[in-house]
C-alpha cells in the first residue's frame, strides 16, 4: 500500500503576524516556516504505520503546492522519514486551486490512503482535504483521530460532536486528520537529514485553474480592554461582576 501525506507550509504557530502593503498581504519578514502541525502529525502516523511490517505500507510520499522557496519544508519532511516528495510549482492561491493541483497529480499516480490535516494554521480553511476527495470522487472521513491497519483493513476513529465513531473505508480514501492521530510529531535525526538531500523530490508544473476566492485584506483583532483584577482575598466579588456587569451568569 502507498500513503500520500499532503503538506502545507505555514508560519511557526508562535509567530506574531504582521501585514504589509496596506494590510493586503502577510509581512513575511522574520517568519520561521514550518510544516503545518496537523500535517506533521499525519506524516508521523504514516511513518509509524510503515515501520510496522504487518501494515504492509511500501511507501510514504509527501505532496505540496508551493514555489521553490518552500523546498526546505519539503526536505524537512524527507528528513523526518518520507520516502519521496512531489512539489507542484505554484503559489497556493486558494484551497480550491491547491486541491485541483493535488488531484491532478494523484489521478496520474493513485494512492491507497491520502492523509490531509484538518486545517492549516494560517488560513484556517479546513477545505483542501474535502475538496481533494470530491475532485477524485473518493470517500473522505473527517475529524479522524486514529488510523490503524488490521488484516489489510483500514480502520479509523472519527470524532463526532459529542462522541466517537469507528469507521472502515474499503479501498482508497482520504482521511482528514486532527489531534490524537499521533502523540508527538517525529523529529528528524541527523541520519535522516543527511539522507533527505538525496531523496527524490519531483517538481511538477501546475495545471490551469482559476481560484474561486481572493484574499483582499487583513486586520488585527481589537485589543481587549485592560483586565480588571479582583482581590484574591475576596474572590467572591468575581461572581458579582460576572452577574451584574458582564451579565453572563
Amino acid at each position: 500500500m502507498k500513503i500520500l501525506v499532503c503538506l502545507s507550509h505555514v508560519p511557526d504557530t508562535t509567530t506574531r503576524v504582521k501585514f504589509a502593503d496596506q494590510n493586503t498581504k502577510l509581512d513575511s519578514t522574520g517568519i520561521q516556516w514550518v510544516i503545518n502541525p496537523w500535517d506533521e502529525l499525519s506524516l508521523t502516523r504514516a511513518l509509524e504505520l510503515k515501520d510496522d511490517p504487518s501494515c504492509g505500507i511500501d511507501k510514504v510520499t509527501v505532496a505540496h503546492v508551493g514555489l521553490a522557496a518552500t523546498e526546505p519544508t519539503i526536505r524537512k519532511a524527507l528528513a523526518i522519514g518520507a520516502d519521496d516528495a512531489i512539489r507542484i510549482n505554484a503559489a497556493p492561491a486558494d484551497a480550491y486551486y491547491v486541491a485541483a493541483q493535488l488531484a491532478t497529480v494523484i489521478k496520474n499516480d493513485p494512492y491507497d490512503i491520502i492523509l490531509c490535516g484538518i486545517e492549516s494554521s494560517d488560513y484556517n480553511g479546513s477545505a483542501v482535504g474535502g475538496m481533494l476527495a470530491e475532485f477524485l470522487n473518493l470517500p473522505s472521513i473527517s475529524s479522524v483521530s486514529s488510523v490503524a491497519i488490521q488484516n489489510g483493513k483500514v480502520i479509523v476513529n472519527r470524532e463526532i460532536d459529542g462522541g466517537k465513531e469507528v469507521v472502515v473505508a474499503p479501498g482508497p480514501f482520504i482521511a482528514i486528520v486532527q489531534k490524537g492521530i499521533a502523540r508527538e510529531p517525529r523529529i528528524a535525526a541527523m541520519r535522516g537529514i543527511m539522507m533527505a538531500r538525496t531523496k527524490p523530490l519531483k517538481v511538477v508544473e501546475p495545471i490551469d485553474c482559476e481560484p474561486l476566492t481572493e484574499w483582499l485584506s487583513y486586520d488585527l483583532p481589537k485589543p481587549r480592554a485592560a483586565c480588571k483584577f479582583v482581590d484574591p482575598e475576596n474572590p467572591g466579588q468575581l461572581i458579582g461582576l460576572l452577574q451584574n456587569e458582564a451579565k453572563i451568569i
Binding site: A99, G125, A127, P139, S142, Y218, I248
Partner: protein, 323 residues
C-alpha cells in the same frame, strides 16, 4: 434563487448552532432579496421544524430514506448538491463544526462554488461578495472575496446572535434521488457522550492548566462547573500528562471553542492555547503569575493560587444560586 441552509440532525433534534445558522441564513436571504430554505436529512422529531421557523425560515426540505443510516460525506454532499441545484441556491450555508467542515468543501467543488470557511459576520458586500473570517488561528482576520456565482459559507460558532422572526413552516418531503455509486464507508461503532454538557456546545467553560498541580485537585473545578452549568476543559500539558482526557484539550491543536464565558484556571495562556479560546466573549483568568499572558486576553483576573480561590468561588456561587 434561494439561500440553502443545511440544518444538522441530531437524532431527530436540532441544536443552537443550527438556530444561529438559520438566523444568519434569513439575514443573508434578506440582503439578496430572496428566500431562505432549510435542508435536513433523516427523521425529524415532531415540533422540531417549528423551532427552525422561529428564526425566519418558512420552508424546510426533508430527505428520508432507510439507506441513510450513518453519516457518509459523499452521500450527504450528493444530496445537498441535488437540492441546491433544484432550489437554484446561490448561497449554501453550513455550521463550522465537524459535520460542516466535512461537507462544505465537497459541496463547494460539486457546485464550483468558492468557499468562505468560518465566517463570523454578515457579508460586507454582495457585488462583489465579501466575507470576513478569522485567520492565523485568531491572531488576525481577513476579508475574502468569493468570485464564483454560487457561494458556500461555514459560520463560526457563537459568532452570530439568534434573531427571532417567527414564520409558519412548511415541511416538504423530498424523495431520495438515486445515489448510484453507493456508500463506501461503514460505521462499525458509535460511542456518544451522555449526560455531560458538550464542550463545543457549552455557553460557559471552566478550564484547568498546569497551575492545578495534580489531577487530584480537580474537585472544586468540576463542582464550580456543575453549579454554573458549565463544561470542563483543560490545556495541552494537562491532557498530555493524562490528568484529564484528550477530549477536553482546548487550544490550537485541540478543540477550538467560542463560549460566552471562558474561565482559565492555572493556565498561563501561550499563543497556542489562546488560539483555541480567543473567540470567547469573556475570559476570566486565575493565575499566580501576574505577568502571565492570559491576563492580557482576559477581562477579569484574580492573581492567586487555584487551590485557594476555587473553593471560595464555589461557596459564593452556592450562596448566589441558593444551593
Amino acid at each position: 434563487m434561494s439561500v440553502l441552509i443545511f440544518i444538522e440532525n441530531w437524532d431527530g433534534k436540532f441544536k443552537k448552532i443550527s438556530f444561529e445558522l438559520a438566523s444568519y441564513g434569513s439575514k443573508v436571504a434578506e440582503m439578496l432579496r430572496t428566500d431562505p430554505v432549510a435542508l435536513t436529512i433523516g427523521n425529524v422529531a415532531p415540533g422540531e421544524v417549528d423551532r427552525i421557523g422561529k428564526y425566519g425560515i418558512g420552508r424546510v426540505i426533508n430527505i428520508q430514506n432507510n439507506a441513510i443510516h450513518s453519516f457518509d460525506s459523499q452521500l450527504y454532499s450528493f444530496l445537498i448538491d441535488h437540492v441546491a441545484r433544484k432550489e437554484k441556491a446561490t448561497v449554501v450555508l453550513f455550521s463550522n463544526n465537524n459535520t460542516g467542515k466535512s461537507l462544505a468543501p465537497r459541496v463547494s467543488v460539486r457546485l464550483h462554488a468558492g468557499l468562505g470557511a468560518g465566517v463570523n459576520q454578515l457579508p460586507s458586500g454582495l457585488e462583489p461578495f465579501i466575507v470576513h473570517k478569522k485567520v492565523f488561528s485568531g491572531n488576525a482576520f481577513a476579508q475574502v472575496m468569493i468570485k464564483s456565482p454560487v457561494k458556500v459559507l461555514t459560520l463560526a460558532q457563537n459568532s452570530f446572535d439568534l434573531i427571532e422572526n417567527p414564520k409558519e413552516v412548511v415541511m416538504e418531503s423530498l424523495p431520495m434521488p438515486a445515489f448510484e455509486q453507493g456508500i463506501k464507508t461503514e460505521v462499525l461503532e458509535t460511542q456518544k457522550q451522555t449526560g455531560k454538557i458538550l464542550l463545543t456546545d457549552a455557553e460557559i467553560v471552566i478550564s484547568g492548566g498546569r497551575g492545578m498541580k495534580s489531577s487530584a485537585n480537580w474537585g472544586p473545578l468540576v463542582e464550580l462547573a456543575d453549579l454554573l452549568g458549565a463544561a470542563t476543559a483543560c490545556s495541552r500539558p494537562v491532557s498530555d500528562e493524562g490528568w484529564r482526557p484528550h477530549e477536553e484539550h482546548t487550544g490550537q491543536t485541540g478543540k477550538i471553542i467560542a463560549p460566552n464565558l471562558y474561565i482559565a484556571v492555572g493556565i498561563s495562556g501561550a499563543t497556542q492555547h489562546l488560539a483555541g479560546v480567543s473567540s470567547s466573549k469573556y475570559i476570566v483568568a486565575i493565575n499566580t503569575d501576574k505577568d502571565a499572558p492570559i491576563f492580557s486576553a482576559a477581562q477579569y483576573g484574580i492573581i492567586g493560587d487555584a487551590g485557594k480561590i476555587l473553593p471560595k468561588l464555589v461557596e459564593e456561587v452556592r450562596q448566589v444560586k441558593g444551593k
